[in-house]
């Protein structure tokens, strides 16, 4: 079963300008463009990787952070396996909005058990010198909201970007294994991807 490649959909959410597109581009194409335009609606890229012996294709969905693009982005939350809540360490407001982003995601993705859904929190723009959000504050928020893993990243200099995505994959895989054990075999989760379904049947 481990040889089968599964498709995992992860989605980047967060305020406009925190660097969601840059994180995705850095991870997939290893490029950084300081002059990226606002994302309109959604965009995505695929990346194949291996985590702990599992071959996965990560489908990374990048979304528009601005409020006016809300109606364009929300239809694409469904079917996500993991949500990367992103803020910028030099923008306190983007940090304060994390809760709203989480709410919006749970509502539109129609998550059945929100407390179990794998979120990962990213504090981007680690390279800037004037921080507005301390590491401790961010860690505190993650702890209080569901014990989410927290990574401080820099899409500009590539710090922690790959590690964060790999952690996201691990969380999803761990979730799958847990549900495989817990859920009786006669239920089929329709939005789950091939790998888990195959494990179900074995």
């Amino acid at each position: 079963m481990t040889t089968k490649t599964s498709l995992l959909k992860v989605i980047l959410l967060g305020d406009g300008g925190v660097g969601k597109s840059s994180i995705m581009n850095r991870y997939v194409t290893n490029k950084f463009d300081a002059h990226l335009f606002h994302t309109i609606g959604v965009e995505f890229l695929n990346k194949d990787l291996e985590v702990d012996g599992h071959q996965v294709t990560l489908q990374i969905w990048d979304t528009a952070g601005q409020e006016r693009f809300r109606s364009l982005r929300t239809p694409f939350y469904r079917g996500s396996d993991c949500c990367l809540l992103t803020f910028s360490v030099d923008d306190n407001q983007s940090f304060l909005n994390l809760g709203n982003w989480k709410k919006e995601f749970i509502y539109y993705a129609d998550v059945k058990e929100p407390e179990k859904f794998p979120f990962v929190v990213l504090g981007n723009k680690l390279d800037v010198t004037e921080r507005q959000v301390s590491t401790e504050e961010a860690q505190q928020w993650c702890k209080e909201n569901g014990d989410y893993p927290y990574y401080e990243t820099s899409a500009k200099d590539s710090t922690n970007v790959a590690i964060a995505f790999e952690e996201a994959v691990r969380r999803v895989l761990a979730m799958d294994e847990r549900t495989d054990h817990l859920i009786p075999t006669d239920t089929v989760k329709l939005h789950r991807k091939p790998r888990s379904a195959a494990t179900c049947c074995s």
């Binding site: 581009n25 335009f37 606002h38 609606g41």
Partner: protein
């Protein structure tokens, strides 16, 4: 019903005849027939038609000493084109507006030249069978899929913008702009399921590009659906040939293009392709226009260019000096002299244009009538002169050398200098004197090889015209590929969900609105082979369109039968047709002031506002 069936197959005959193959008395006519449609036509009949039309064509041309453009024979109309020994004829039923027949033939020849280069050379390098298959493909492509209304106006197939969030049109436009950050990319368009979403090119050029797109789409559909692999295999390319004027238009900066549509062209704008940086001011400007898929995409702000003439003038020198290909400046005030050169060059270009324009016998009146002097948009048709025109052309290209690395080749071609005018008004003008010829000939101007690059994501295609060496420039290829891939993926996902929307119900009225500048059609007709209700509207529209084309002063008209009345109105930039459905027409046979047909203009004005059509 049989009339409809015949009309949906627009063209009843098409052939290309090469007179150079039939020189001696004993040479059979069939030797000269390069391609004949329908192919199943008996060879005797082919020979009869080719012989007669070619004979009449040559005879009339010699008598009138101007090429024949149009012939009528029995119940068919034939658009005629002649070049060297080649003779093209395309026949349609007499119902089709004359201008549509001529446009169809021009389109067909232009498409052939776009993908194959010069006709003579193509026939030297390929077998007749190979090229026959291509003519057949282009012809079937032109006749397929679009509605009768699209045929009448020869309009582009565009996405139904009522179903699409304007922000997605903006997204498409931004993808194109991002690609243009690579200097080897001239311009492009984004297509979805064979329809235009956004284009940076003229309607004529966009139409040509779409032919290839629809061919690759058909191919990709054949083997078990589109492949889902995200590799570079989604990318393809082919060689294409641009006319000199098309190339000049693409290489001129956006602001320059913009200024051409005003009555006072900005003469001092340096002929350099602007690199578009994506900034908030771009966003604001584009977004405000984004409900309108057309010119807003071409209009891009470049702060230093939009300044006054003086400041752009003073900014020009650094570019010229930085140009590695231009000789080091000799004069003590190099920037000025250089700048002046370019200005003089443009001046000369325009002068020579005016000369040739007047020598063609058209008065000033035409320019004024059209207001926006679209004649400039066509990039000066200079009369094959080795004099001023040729020199000027060389100069202009020299300055563009910084951007286009192929300048040597182009300077060479530039000397010949026979630009082909673009734009819709050309077509109208042609129709004013349909048989005058001389002004525009398909496939006449020198052709410059370029590359058409296609990146497909399922039903969505990014098509770019690029310099030929783009394909060997791995860094540029990757830059363009990676800068657009995520956005294309996303755009495709958006469009896939939207386009499933059911076509709107017909409602109490039918309308068709044709934008002559962008060559786009907006209508609430279903588009498929029309129902009984739609047919009178389509026929009336066809007839009114013909009248508008033939009578330049005609602005409004109502055409009616016992059961229906259709109102048509036009301006320089648009034509609109409107029919109120249902409700019996109060029609006594003699026009009176209570006749409900006279209410059509005001009804059209009110009803069409919500479709974004402003007739006020």
């Amino acid at each position: 019903v049989s009339v409809m069936a015949e009309q949906s197959r627009r063209c009843s005959y098409f052939f290309l005849y090469d007179a150079s193959k039939v020189t001696g008395e004993s040479d059979p006519t069939r030797d000269g027939i390069c391609y004949f449609y329908p192919e199943e036509t008996p060879i005797d009949k082919q020979e009869l038609l080719c012989g007669q039309l070619a004979g009449v064509g040559r005879c009339v041309s010699e008598l009138s000493s101007s090429p024949v453009r149009f012939l009528r024979l029995h119940r068919n109309k034939y658009a005629i084109r002649m070049k060297d020994d080649f003779f093209w004829a395309l026949g349609c039923s007499a119902e089709v507006p004359t201008i549509s027949v001529c446009e169809l033939l021009d389109q067909l020849i232009n498409i052939f030249c776009f993908y194959n280069g010069s006709v003579r050379q193509s026939y030297q390098m390929n077998t007749r069978e190979t090229l026959a298959a291509r003519w057949a493909r282009y012809l079937s492509n032109l006749q397929s899929a679009s509605s009768e209304l699209h045929h009448i106006f020869s309009s582009l197939k565009t996405i139904d913008s009522t179903n699409v969030d304007p922000l997605l049109l903006l997204k498409a436009a931004l993808i194109l702009q991002a690609c243009q950050r690579c200097p080897l990319v001239l311009a492009g368009c984004v297509l979805f399921r064979g329809r235009v979403l956004s284009t940076q090119m003229s309607p004529q050029l966009t139409m040509k590009v779409m032919v290839h797109e629809s061919e690759t789409y058909t191919k990709s559909q054949r083997p078990n659906g589109p492949s889902s692999s995200s590799s570079l295999s989604a990318v393809s390319s082919t060689t294409v040939f641009l006319t000199l004027s098309e190339l000049q238009y693409l290489q001129s900066p956006p602001v320059d293009k913009l200024s051409r549509s005003h009555s006072t062209p900005q003469k001092d704008a340096p002929p350099k392709k602007t690199r578009l940086s994506r900034t908030l001011s771009d966003m604001a400007s584009t977004e405000s226009d984004s409900s309108d898929p057309g010119p807003s995409q071409r209009i891009s702000f470049s702060p230093w260019l939009s300044d006054s003439d003086n400041s752009s003038f003073s900014l020009a020198p650094p570019q010229i000096i930085a140009d590695p290909q231009s000789p080091p400046p000799q004069s003590p005030v190099p920037p000025l002299s250089n700048g002046k050169n370019s200005r003089e060059a443009e001046e000369a270009l325009k002068d020579s244009f005016y000369q040739s324009f007047h020598s063609n016998g058209d008065g000033d009146g035409f320019i004024h009538n059209n207001g926006d002097s679209s004649v400039f948009e066509g990039n000066s048709h200079f009369s094959g002169g080795e004099g001023d025109g040729g020199t000027a052309c060389g100069n202009v290209f020299d300055l563009q050398g910084a951007e286009s690395h192929d300048d040597e080749a182009m300077v060479g071609d530039g000397g010949v200098g026979c630009g082909r005018a673009q734009g819709r008004h050309k077509a109208q003008q042609r129709d004013l004197a349909p048989c005058s010829g001389a002004f525009e000939y398909p496939g006449e101007s020198p052709l410059v090889p370029m590359t058409l690059y296609l990146h497909r994501v399922k039903g969505l295609v990014l098509a770019l015209l690029v310099e030929p060496h783009f394909l060997s420039d791995t860094a540029s290829m990757e830059e363009v590929y990676h800068s657009s891939l995520a956005s294309l993926n996303g755009l495709e996902a958006h469009l896939r969900t939207i386009s499933s929307g059911a076509p709107g119900t017909p409602g109490p009225y039918i309308f068709a609105h044709f934008d002559c500048i962008q060559s786009t059609l907006t209508t609430n007709l279903s588009g498929g082979p029309g129902g009984a209700l739609e047919h009178p509207f389509v026929r009336a529209t066809s007839l009114l369109h013909l009248h508008f084309c033939n009578t330049e002063t005609l602005q409004e008209a109502i055409i009616r039968s016992a059961g229906a009345a259709v109102y048509g109105t036009r301006s320089v930039a648009q034509e609109t047709y409107f029919q109120q459905q249902g409700g019996s027409l109060r029609n006594s046979g003699i026009p009176n002031h209570q006749d409900s047909a006279f209410l059509l203009p005001s009804k059209a004005r009110h009803r069409l506002l919500k479709h974004g059509v402003n007739l006020l």
